[in-house]
């Protein structure tokens, strides 16, 4: 099967080269057969990559320990669940996984548009094939996952060998989120290839109008959704596995995943400027280019170890390949832009500072400043070494000082932006849309102050969260009220109907609501507490309203590891509430340790308990407990964001009712919000 997979990868490379070269020839000659054959070569490339990936997974499931990659990342006792994850647990496999996920997108695009957009698709196909060639080059020639184990025989020749068992999967990856987090994040990284291919293709082809924006909207949203889920799942993994009580430490790999999310978010908003007003065309094209480049950079940072904390740590041979690919991509993008920049001339100017356009511009500015801050902080060691000879890193204070105010500004715009009118917003409109939400926010702020809330940023965040949530709920309320008045349906049914009539707009509001929840959770971090104590059996430790009683210890042998557990009884306000079992795991194959945190999670707070080892002074087990308020809101917010994105991806339902409602003077002010056709307020705008 290793030979089969290897052969499939070589053939995929050949097909991709044909799809690329033949595609360029097809663009020049416009020969229909050539166009068709290159499209089919693109589809074949994807199928071959699927085969190669499945064959590597088969090697894991069949415990084939003659394959070096399987030996390094699996063992017989590894559960089936983690044998799936073992595919992307190492360099070679994860690069193949990149190709695999990209192929799913490319395959879908080539099939979806096989008989459409004939002028544009050959260009798109060539760009996608170009990206595939790069990754297939790595898969075939640099980091081949199908290398067989070999050892020199008595005759001095190399012979194939097989091991009885593998080294096993690193313990930190033996956690359920590690099976779903990387696929999500990589689906985000790879997914941004599609809007990139369309943007570059449209620029090269001088494809008329904003059609490429419409074509790529859903692909961008899908990629963005996966990227969001990937980031949050990664944060949750760090929270639940590393045992440090936090979920975000601003390390280079975390930052790498955030960068394309920031530019991708900016792009999702700024495209509306192009759709509605024909503005920001150059900006949008470069935003997509930058998002794609940041995805490649993110993969590069993750895989190459170029800023992975210390130069003593792994340096990879793939670094130069990534730098070369990024350089070529920048040159191609720059060349295409310089050649066809007249195609991107703006059709309109900014009319007013208090307008939807202006809010989008500030939204983009903030996201871009955040991106530049995170990028410069992440690459600081590299650039400081290049410029001064000293390798200097910056830590969390740098990132927090810049990004917390930026995040709050963005939260403010989340509430304000969607309710501003295009071109110019009147004072009456401002009062009508923002009067109540602003009052609600301020009231919440005053109440918080009265109750002793003294953390400045958290206090501002609370006010803004109430303000934004109020604007969103008010929008739903006003729209649903109109539908309810006409149809007599319940309020909830009317709100659903409203959402389904303009999924893009109201889906967007749901996403904004999800972000409000995420911010509520982030604000809670200012109030985190922790305590650590050496514990005898029967000892008690108090944190907040909880008393933790160590009832005992036990050892629990499992198939792949042995767990040493502390049996901790939780009493809340002196009432027995539940048992928690923080544990240390000893993995038999690798002889490495792992930590399993025990968490009691409520919307109010997380009680987070870690078995922190044995005290050198007393020889007793050390219990480290954290009380982290509101953390659950982050994960809940993430679910809402995903739900909102899915809603926004749905097609609009026809709004027959609303058209008849146009006769009602009372509902007149809100009609524009309900009509799904292209009005100036349409869309999650």
């Amino acid at each position: 099967m290793d030979v089969f997979g290897s052969f499939a990868l070589v053939l995929a490379f050949v097909c991709a080269v044909y799809a690329f070269g033949g595609g360029i020839a097809a663009i020049i000659t416009r020969h229909p057969l050539l166009i068709k054959s290159t499209r089919q070569a693109g589809i074949t490339t994807c199928c071959l990559i699927f085969l190669a990936t499945f064959s590597l997974e088969y090697l894991f499931f069949s415990d084939n320990f003659s394959a070096a990659y399987v030996v390094s990342h699996s063992n017989r006792d590894l559960s089936t669940f983690y044998k799936i994850a073992a595919l992307w647990s190492g360099q070679e496999g994860s690069l193949l996984f990149w190709s695999f996920l990209l192929s799913i997108y490319v395959f879908s695009v080539l099939l979806t548009y096989r008989n459409k957009n004939g002028e544009l698709m050959p260009y798109v196909g060539v760009v996608m094939a170009g990206v595939q060639i790069f990754f297939l080059t790595l898969n075939n020639f640099i980091e081949n996952p199908f290398k067989a184990l070999a050892a020199p025989g008595a005759d001095g020749l190399m012979n194939y060998v097989a091991r009885a068992d593998g080294n096993g999967l690193t313990p930190l990856l033996q956690y359920p989120e590690m099976v779903i987090h990387p696929p999500n994040l990589y689906s985000g990284y790879t997914g941004f290839t599609i809007p990139f291919a369309f943007a570059l293709g449209a620029l090269l082809a001088r494809y008329p109008g904003e059609k490429w924006i419409h074509l790529t909207r859903k692909w961008t949203m899908i990629a963005w959704m996966f990227q969001s889920m990937g980031i949050l799942l990664g944060a949750h993994w760090a929270y639940a596995v590393l045992g440090w009580g936090g979920y975000w430490g601003w390390d280079p790999v975390e930052n790498a995943s955030l960068l394309p999310w920031l530019t991708g978010t900016a792009f999702l908003h700024s495209v509306m400027m192009q759709e509605k007003r024909g503005m920001m065309k150059v900006w949008n094209v470069w935003l997509v280019f930058c998002t794609f480049l940041l995805c490649i950079l993110g993969t590069f940072l993750t895989r190459s170890g170029v800023v992975s904390s210390v130069h003593a740590f792994a340096n990879s041979k793939i670094g130069n390949w990534f730098v070369g690919f990024m350089a070529i991509t920048v040159l191609v993008c720059l060349g295409a832009y310089l050649k066809n920049r007249d195609y991107l001339a703006s059709e309109n100017q900014l009319d007013s500072i208090v307008s939807r356009e202006s809010s989008f511009l500030f939204n983009n500015l903030i996201l871009l400043v955040a991106c530049v801050a995170v990028l410069s902080g992440t690459l600081f060691p590299v650039f400081s070494e290049l410029l001064t000879g000293n390798r200097i890193s910056v830590g969390a204070p740098f990132f927090n000082k810049v990004n917390i105010p930026l995040g709050l500004l963005l939260l403010f715009l989340t509430g304000v932006g969607p309710l501003l009118a295009w071109r110019k917003t009147s004072t009456e409109s401002l009062k009508r849309n923002f009067g109540w939400p602003l009052a609600m926010g301020l009231v919440a702020g005053v109440i918080a102050l009265v109750f002793g809330f003294r953390q400045f940023y958290s206090w501002i965040c609370l006010i803004l969260c109430v303000f934004v949530a109020s604007t969103v709920l008010l929008e739903f309320y006003r729209g649903a009220k109109v539908i309810r008045a006409r149809s007599g349906a319940s309020f909830v049914a009317s709100a659903v109907e409203l959402t389904m009539r303009n999924t893009r707009r109201y889906g967007g509001y749901i996403v904004h609501m999800g972000m409000v929840f995420v911010f509520i959770g982030l604000a809670g971090a200012a109030f985190n507490r922790d305590i650590q104590k050496d514990m005898r059996q029967g000892d008690t430790m108090q944190i907040g309203p909880y008393n933790l009683v160590l009832q005992g210890f036990d050892t629990k042998p499992e198939k792949n590891y042995t767990a040493q557990r502390l049996l901790v009884e939780v009493l809340e306000d002196s009432k027995p509430t539940m048992m928690l079992y923080p544990e240390k795991r000893r993995f038999s194959t690798t002889e490495e340790n792992g930590t399993m945190v025990a968490i009691r999670s409520t919307l109010k707070e997380d009680l987070y308990v870690v078995y922190a080892g044995t005290s050198p002074d007393s020889g007793l087990p050390v219990l480290h407990a954290y009380l982290n308020p509101l953390v659950k809101w982050i994960w809940f917010g993430g679910v809402v964001v995903v739900f909102g994105t899915l809603v926004a991806l749905l097609p609009n339902r026809r709004a027959v009712l609303v058209l008849s409602g146009a006769q009602q003077p009372a509902v007149q002010p809100f009609l524009h919000e309900l009509t799904p056709s292209a009005t100036m307020r349409e869309g999650h705008d």
Binding site: W88, L173, V310, P397, Q532, P616
Partner: protein, 145 residues
């Protein structure tokens, strides 16, 4: 004032404020990377900088003492005695022969006083795709969020 100028002022205020905050954050958190060999050559104010030093944990050198953990880092043929005085538990990956990164200040008698220790197993640890599962070694430093 023209609307473009108003927008320009807004942009300037945001960018300038963030630049100032970034500068403050840089001052608070900048950390110099040095090798063990370089540490011996540092003089004067360079010795008071916050720094990161990488190396391999010497076999049998980890000693758990009251209030601190002592160990020896090896690299480029040199050794460095380290005392970890942080409050967070050492990562599970911190064992003999693991690659470790210590962050702190040089202390008295050539001993390095570390507040943060990151470690990864020399033989096994592979960076995970995309997530912090991998390239980031397990740190003792708590998240700031």
């Amino acid at each position: 004032m023209k609307k473009q100028a108003k927008f320009g002022v807004g942009v300037f205020v945001i960018v300038a404020s963030m630049g100032f905050l970034a500068w403050l954050g840089y001052g608070e958190s900048k950390t110099y990377y040095h090798t063990i060999a370089e540490l011996e050559t540092l003089r004067g104010s360079a010795m008071s900088q916050r720094m990161r030093i990488g190396g391999t944990v010497a076999v049998g050198s980890i000693r758990h003492l009251a209030g601190r953990v002592d160990f020896v880092l090896e690299g480029e043929g040199k050794t460095l005695s380290v005392s970890y005085v942080g409050t967070d538990p050492l990562p599970d990956t911190f064992i003999d022969k693991s690659q470790a990164l210590v962050e702190g200040h040089p202390g008295p008698e050539g001993r390095f006083v570390a507040e943060v220790v990151q470690a990864k197993c020399a033989s096994k640890y592979e960076a995970a795709p995309g997530g912090k599962g991998g390239a980031a070694p397990s740190p003792t430093e708590p998240s700031r969020m």
